[in-house]
């Protein structure tokens, strides 16, 4: 029991951080915020998937992807295609020249559903596609690049270019993709109204649970030997290679895993926001995702969530009152994070967090009960958070 527990939560600080996050998004937000704001937070939390994926890929793996929007977009589009097909039943689209196909296809003189849309009639297929397609795509990109030892800056730029290609393609092939408007007007999921408040609330909680699950899964990866190898590779790639590891495979795996996580976020985004468009695939959203992770602390999974929330709250609040100042603030924040707080919010938490955590005695007691004293010592060195600290010193 305690071994599994350690695997998933790390040490005491990690556990407390996780619990606080869970309490915040599962209890505090739903109680404090009205339905509109809660839905907003839900949308922000879908970006957090991408931010968490970047903690794995960039913070630990040392590989910066400027193309997480690609996978966020693929996940989102897959979900949107399913919902759009449902919204385009022959009855709903009777006024079109070709009823039964999405409206934008009809406007573009397409008279038959394209073959790659066909399988998206099935919800099961869609769910599988959301998981498999981005992973596979990441595998192709990753295998091509990492096997040839393309990394660092080159990887960042190439993934950025791929996201540009995808955006131009989606916009240019509007008959097949909905173009720049994206896939809009999504209303029901198997007959169930997804625009209702109850649906939005339910999606919010599903989203939270998925996000927490993703964090736990990521912790599992990071606390395993795999996680230590990632850190090791980041610092001394050759040493890992000459210790008998096929470095490329590890990078490919973490890239695929990050793609999968982002895609889940994308799919949840479509469900909660009600549409998907190429503006979530391109350069700007992809870089913003990196910023979320950077502000949260690139070595902290939980920090990534807070970073995402902080920036997006800031964006909404500032753009309401001082739209002129927002870009200055955002730009300044990037620079400040890079120059003064390279460990982001998580770094501040490490430095000052104990002042706060001591107030949460009940969590301490809970932790002490779960984990017998002896096992703490053995596993202390394995914890994510100690690695976070160490990694940040480099």
């Amino acid at each position: 029991m305690s071994f599994v527990y350690e695997k998933l939560f790390g040490d005491k600080k990690g556990m407390i951080g996780f619990c606080l996050l869970a309490i915040l998004i599962l209890v505090v937000f739903p109680l404090m915020l009205d339905s509109f704001r809660l839905n907003l937070v839900g949308k922000y939390l879908t970006y957090a998937f991408a931010a968490v994926s970047l903690v794995l890929l960039w913070g630990y793996g040392g590989t910066l992807s400027l193309g997480q929007g690609i996978f966020f977009g693929i996940g989102g589009y897959a979900m949107a295609m399913f919902l759009k097909l449902e919204a385009s039943s022959p009855e709903n689209t009777a006024i079109q020249s070709t009823p039964g196909i999405p409206d934008f296809m009809d406007w573009n003189q397409i008279t038959e559903l394209p073959f790659f849309w066909m399988p998206f009639h099935s919800f099961t297929f869609t769910l599988i596609a959301i998981l498999v397609v981005p992973t596979f795509f990441a595998y192709i990109i990753g295998a091509a690049m990492f096997k040839r030892r393309v990394g660092g800056v080159y990887f960042a730029i190439i993934t950025q270019v791929i996201s540009v290609i995808l955006t131009v393609l989606i916009v240019g092939q509007q008959g097949l993709t909905g173009g720049i408007n994206g896939i809009t007007d999504l209303r029901t999921l198997n007959g169930w109204d997804i625009t209702s408040d109850s649906a939005k609330n339910l999606f919010y909680f599903i989203n939270c649970f998925l996000l927490l699950a993703v964090i736990i899964a990521s912790r599992f990866v990071l606390t395993s030997k795999f996680g230590r190898l990632l850190l090791a590779m980041r610092d001394k790639e050759d040493r890992v290679r000459f210790s008998g590891y096929d470095v490329a495979n590890f990078k490919i795996f973490v890239f695929c895993f990050a793609a999968l996580i982002s895609a889940v976020g994308g799919a949840m985004f479509t469900l909660q926001v009600g549409f998907m468009s190429p503006s979530f695939v391109g350069i700007v959203p992809s870089i913003e995702m990196v910023i979320f992770a950077a502000v949260g602390g690139r070595m902290s999974l939980i920090g990534a969530v807070y970073g995402t929330l902080l920036i997006n709250f800031g964006k909404t609040a500032f753009s309401e009152s001082f739209p002129e100042l927002w870009l200055f603030l955002m730009g300044g924040l990037f620079i400040a994070v890079v120059m003064f707080f390279p460990n982001g919010l998580a770094g501040l938490w490490e430095d000052y967090g104990h002042h706060i955590t001591k107030h949460f005695r009940f969590l301490n007691r809970f932790y002490d009960k779960l984990v017998p004293a002896s096992s703490k010592e053995v596993n202390a060195s394995n914890s994510v958070d100690s690695a976070e600290l160490e990694g940040s010193k480099s």
């Binding site: 795999f226 190898l229 610092d235 008998g244 096929d246 795996f253 160490e390």
Partner: protein, 250 residues
């Protein structure tokens, strides 16, 4: 040398050449290494010593020639395959994971869970633990297991890297300047360590410190401009006029 005895060698390098844009860093090199042999390669800067190690462990690809390790051709294997075949290599500057503890450094090098999924499910069990302790004792770091590797002294870092190779139990151990930056006492300890670990495997060392070479070497090869200038016992080599000229001539 008799070609028919090739099969007995741990390492057999034949006709090995590598050129960078026409410059031959290693030129038709032939070199053989026996089991249980501790062989030191010396030579002036730019002689191609490190390049030879790079070629053996796959870091650099040869232009022509063959490298056979236990009769297995290495030239077309990738780095990790060469390591898995039983070749370990220590770099010139200590290459360890400074952010991880000594324990973790050794654990990461432990030859199990080398695949992606293997590493995800890898468990630090009793077998792993006892092996780590054993190696740590050999490299004189058993009381530093929980120390962050970056905090070790330079000499200790060199030992740690040797330990990270030892834990994989390689048949061929290649050490690039293992005593660089060490104190006199540490050198002595290292010489002892090398003598100990050369039992049951072959060790190839690149070193500048002649005193140290004399203390450990079974055989010495002098490399100059990518070619072998002289080879044999340390004493013979030291008397070789060609060698003297290369070392003192400039």
């Amino acid at each position: 040398m008799n070609m028919s005895t090739n099969t007995d060698f741990t390492l057999a390098i034949e006709d090995l050449t590598v050129s960078f844009d026409g410059f031959k860093a290693v030129d038709s090199l032939n070199f053989y290494l026996d089991r249980n042999e501790l062989h030191v390669v010396i030579g002036p800067n730019g002689a191609g010593k490190t390049t030879v190690l790079d070629l053996i462990c796959g870091k650099t690809k040869s232009t022509s020639g063959s490298i056979k390790f236990l009769n297995k051709e290495l030239t077309n294997l990738s780095e990790h395959e060469i390591v898995r075949a039983g070749v370990g290599r220590k770099f010139q500057t200590p290459s360890i994971y400074e952010n991880l503890s000594v324990m973790e450094n050794l654990e990461v090098s432990y030859p199990r869970g080398r695949g992606v999924f293997g590493s995800l499910l890898f468990k630090h069990d009793a077998e792993v633990h006892s092996k780590i302790i054993e190696v740590a004792q050999q490299i004189m770091l058993e009381s530093f297991l929980d120390t962050e590797a970056g905090l070790l002294s330079h000499g200790q870092k060199q030992w740690l890297e040797i330990g990270m190779l030892l834990i994989q139990d390689p048949q061929l151990l290649m050490l690039d300047e293992p005593v660089a930056g060490m104190s006199v006492k540490e050198r002595e300890q290292t010489a002892e360590l090398l003598n100990k670990i050369s039992k049951g495997r072959s060790v190839l060392v690149i070193e500048h410190d002649m005193e140290f070479v004399a203390r450990i070497a079974h055989k010495v090869t002098v490399l100059h401009q990518g070619k072998i200038l002289a080879a044999g016992e340390m004493e013979e080599v030291q008397k070789d006029p060609k060698v003297i000229e290369v070392y003192l001539g400039h």
